[in-house]
């Protein structure tokens, strides 16, 4: 925890959870046993120990509110430990200021941190003083010691060191590792009070008290949580009462109630690592009401108590609503815009696919908030300034796409070509957008491409962005890593080998009968698209408007283009009539090359095919040119992510044919550095 805003987010989230539990306990005050009433606080304990980063929204979007508040509060001031564009991020619950304070918010956090230390030191000092005082206590009188021994024997409890101390009004247990049962020297102590304290000892209530005291110190400046911790202490006492009553019967229970009644006027000072039968007048009155209501709760109630606690655990520990409230991020007023910016800081993309998808949508729809969510945190300030400057009533409006995309075909969606995952977690790809045409008169290149678009029917332009999604402490962020390139082609030819879209890699080998070459291009798609007809650039894609920061890649295609340059053999001889190839993809080192039997194809054969036995073939008639090539007609098949087929095969086996006869076999092996 490094600044006051993180503390506020944590303490308010804990408060929300506590309030929810208080309401729930109120509903079940007379229905569920004191065991459940106290036990359910374990959820609050877990909630306190879990930083809010684990589960953002505990019933309410508190982190978002605090982040928005921080943005407003920090605007124009220079804090050392927080900033407008530094999102709150709580990785642990202990205050850990780093460096010297500069601003008011820094000083407030320092005061909080000092307060935690002061409270813990105060506990230690008070406990030390109490132990010191107990050292001067007398051992129990023989009569009292005998009574205690009898009680332990009857109820199967273990005793501990016990002392009588002058000036005390009530009995209590002090300490956990070396507990001491403390009795007032001047006042005789009833057996039931002894039993109560022995039960505190038996169930290690002093240790639990110490635990709650430490948690109280962490939230010392939250008055509501002080009230909650007091209630927890009272519930612990009520649970002890329940345990006492379960061991008494009839008249003895009434007598126990009378004993408590006699303590109703006493004041109570909470002491860490202690437990006491008297916890203040008002609380004693509440406990007496519970005793009047006492019943032996049926054994079966344990099942529903556990089930109810399990159901409660999820909203309290894991959070509730989807953190991306209003995920379409289209604010229409300044306050909503500030809130949306806060949202983009808090809800970063958690996957590379989510980051690429969000960024692409930001470009396509000119939405700066999407870009802010998927760009490095360092860009937030600049993006916000641009959005404010370009605001034309739509507060998230941002033209970041450049003039190349001024006529982007938003129905065309986007495509991710040649996705590569690097060992350090970065994911690079070519992001392609389709444009109806380029703006005229902006550059000679765009004019030339427009002329191409105009001259060939059904042609479109497309823009390739070279991007990278890199893991950062705040999630995945996308940056452009190269130059944008512009192209034009008929829509139906965009998936062809010569469409202009670069290949992912190329493998080549020259043999005795010529040269073979394999080019591979991949295209990925993300799981948030609603409809995608096919994966080529001639399809239309519809995306849902909201951001999907945790999207996954749901599938990919691999396009393989194999060529045989049959005129590039050493002696330069061309086949007389036909040339061809068969290509097999070998996905693992253990896969064996299994070409079909080398029957003669025949010199007249030509065409291409894909065989179900795992190879593709293509043949051409030799036209008399000094060289030529044969391309595989296979392309790819759709494969879903999670398929056992690897994206890139281990090897390609190619058999070339000249005039219908198998001429030579090649084995091309993919290596990581085989670039296109």
């Amino acid at each position: 925890m490094s600044n006051i805003y993180e503390y506020l987010a944590q303490t308010l989230s804990v408060s929300a959870a506590a309030l929810f539990l208080l309401i729930l306990k109120r509903c079940f005050a007379d229905k569920l046993s004191p065991r459940w009433q106290y036990g359910v606080w374990s959820l609050l304990a877990l909630r306190i120990l879990l930083p809010i980063d684990v589960s953002r929204n505990i019933l309410l979007p508190i982190p978002l509110w605090i982040e928005s508040f921080k943005s407003a509060a920090e605007a124009g001031i220079d804090s050392a430990w927080s900033g407008v564009y530094r999102p709150i991020s709580l990785r642990h619950i202990l205050p850990a200021p780093d460096g010297l304070p500069q601003s008011l918010s820094d000083w407030l956090f320092l005061v909080y941190a000092i307060g935690v230390m002061a409270m813990l030191i105060s506990y230690a000092v008070r406990y030390g003083m109490l132990r010191n005082r107990l050292r001067r206590g007398r051992p129990l009188s023989p009569h009292t010691a005998a009574r205690m021994e009898t009680l332990c024997e009857v109820y199967g409890l273990k005793a501990c060191r016990a002392v009588e101390v002058r000036g005390l009004k009530t009995a209590f247990v002090c300490g956990w590792l070396r507990p001491v049962l403390v009795l007032p020297e001047d006042t005789p102590v009833e057996d039931k009070i002894l039993l109560h304290e022995l039960l505190h000892l038996h169930y290690h209530d002093a240790a639990q008290n110490l635990f709650w005291c430490i948690l109280r110190a962490l939230h010392w400046c939250n008055p509501f949580l002080h009230f909650v911790f007091d209630r927890i202490g009272n519930d612990l006492e009520s649970l002890c009462d329940q345990r006492v009553l379960e061991r008494l019967d009839g008249e003895e229970r009434r007598a126990y109630g009378a004993i408590l009644l006699s303590m109703a006027s006493e004041k109570y000072a909470r002491m860490p690592a202690t437990s006491s039968i008297s916890n203040g007048g008002r609380n004693v009155a509440r406990r007496i009401e519970a005793i009047v209501r006492f019943k032996q709760f049926p054994r079966g109630m344990a099942l529903v108590s556990v089930c109810m606690t399990l159901v409660l655990a999820f909203p309290i520990l894991a959070g509730t609503q989807d953190p991306m409230e209003g995920r379409d991020l289209t604010p229409d007023n300044p306050a909503a815009f500030a809130r949306s910016m806060a949202m983009t800081r808090l809800n970063r993309c958690t996957t590379a696919a989510g980051a690429l998808d969000t960024w692409a949508k930001g470009i396509l729809w000119e939405n700066g908030l999407f870009l802010a969510a998927a760009s490095p945190i360092e860009r937030q300030e600049a993006l916000e300034a641009q959005m404010r400057e370009q605001n034309n009533g739509a507060y998230g409006f941002l033209i970041d796409s450049g003039s190349e995309l001024s006529m982007a075909d938003t129905t065309g969606g986007y495509w991710l070509f040649n996705l590569e995952e690097h060992p350090d977690g970065r994911v690079s790809a070519l992001l392609a957008f389709r444009v109806i045409r380029f703006p005229d008169g902006v550059s000679p290149e765009m004019d030339r491409l427009n002329a191409e678009i105009d001259s060939r029917p059904l042609s479109v332009g497309y823009v390739l962005f070279c991007v990278e999604a890199a893991p950062t402490p705040d999630g995945y962020a996308v940056t452009e890593i190269g130059e944008r390139s512009l192209h034009a082609a008929p829509q139906e030819e965009l998936s062809y080998e010569n469409s202009g879209i670069p290949m992912l890699f190329t493998l080549e080998e020259t043999g005795e009968t010529g040269r073979v070459r394999v080019d591979v291009r991949t295209v990925h798609w993300v799981d948030d698209d609603i409809r995608r007809a096919n994966v080529g650039l001639d399809s239309n894609v519809t995306f849902p408007v909201p951001m999907v920061p945790d999207a996954d890649f749901s599938g990919h295609q691999v396009w393989t283009y194999a060529k045989y340059f049959y005129g590039e053999n050493p002696d330069g001889a061309l086949p007389e009539q036909s040339a061809g190839l068969q290509i097999i993809r070998l996905d693992s080192p253990e896969d064996s090359v299994d070409f079909p039997p080398p029957v003669e194809i025949g010199p007249e054969a030509w065409g291409s095919s894909s065989s179900s036995s795992g190879y593709a073939s293509a043949f051409v008639r030799v036209s008399g040119d000094p060289y030529g090539c044969v391309m595989s007609g296979s392309g790819s098949g759709d494969r879903n992510s999670g398929s056992e087929w690897p994206l890139i095969p281990h090897r390609y086996a190619i058999r070339v044919f000249r005039d219908g006869k198998a001429a030579e076999d090649f084995l091309l092996e993919y290596k990581e550095d085989a670039d296109a």
Partner: protein, 189 residues
């Protein structure tokens, strides 16, 4: 008045209450078996059972809260809306879920207790307690935010178990009603 004369019609109302709660017949957006009515029937039955079993009176408040919630859902469903969205409503939804777990557990437990006190431990009380426990565990699992819907097999399994649970509830309550009807008739004779 003999207790059986009070218990039999009360159990009948509770049985009908479960019909409304478990079954939905939709005419367009209109569910003609609103859950809220089911809870009201049960609350009516509990009012008469309270004399015989005081702990039944503890269910009045949670039952009323659930009935109001279900009434709200039913009214919103007529407009094609849902009681969902804002965080507070989600929190309220969890509260209702927990109340509901307790409500049905206590209700079936009380009915089992009444049956046991009248000597129907084997034939009625035991099965009711087993039903109570099974229902509680199953409903807890369904309330937990696991992605049940992602597996078709799991959806079918859960549907099957729910159907079995519904049938079991009707059979168990029907058996209790018959038992007290016989007791009532024997008492008349």
């Amino acid at each position: 008045m003999r207790e059986s004369a009070v218990i039999r019609p009360a159990v009948g109302r509770i049985l009908w209450g479960y019909v409304f709660i478990y079954l939905d017949i939709n005419l367009g957006r209109l569910n003609i078996l609103p859950d809220a009515l089911g809870y009201l029937l049960i609350l009516q039955a509990l009012a008469s059972l309270k004399e015989i079993r005081p702990s039944a009176g503890l269910l009045k408040t949670p039952g009323t809260v659930i009935a109001v919630w279900e009434a709200g859902r039913w009214i919103l469903s007529l407009a094609g809306a849902e009681l969902d969205g804002p965080a507070l409503l989600q929190a309220a939804g969890y509260l209702i879920g927990v109340l509901s777990l307790y409500f049905h557990f206590q209700l079936l437990g009380d009915l089992a207790g009444i049956a046991a006190e009248h000597g129907y431990e084997q034939s009625v009380a035991g099965p009711l307690r087993r039903l109570r426990n099974t229902r509680t565990v199953l409903m807890t699992l369904l309330l937990l935010p696991f992605p049940w819907q992602e597996s078709e097999g799991l959806i079918l399994l859960i549907l099957g178990i729910l159907l079995f649970l519904i049938l079991w509830t009707f059979l168990a309550l029907g058996a209790m009603r018959r038992a007290f009807a016989e007791e009532d008739e024997n008492g008349d004779k």
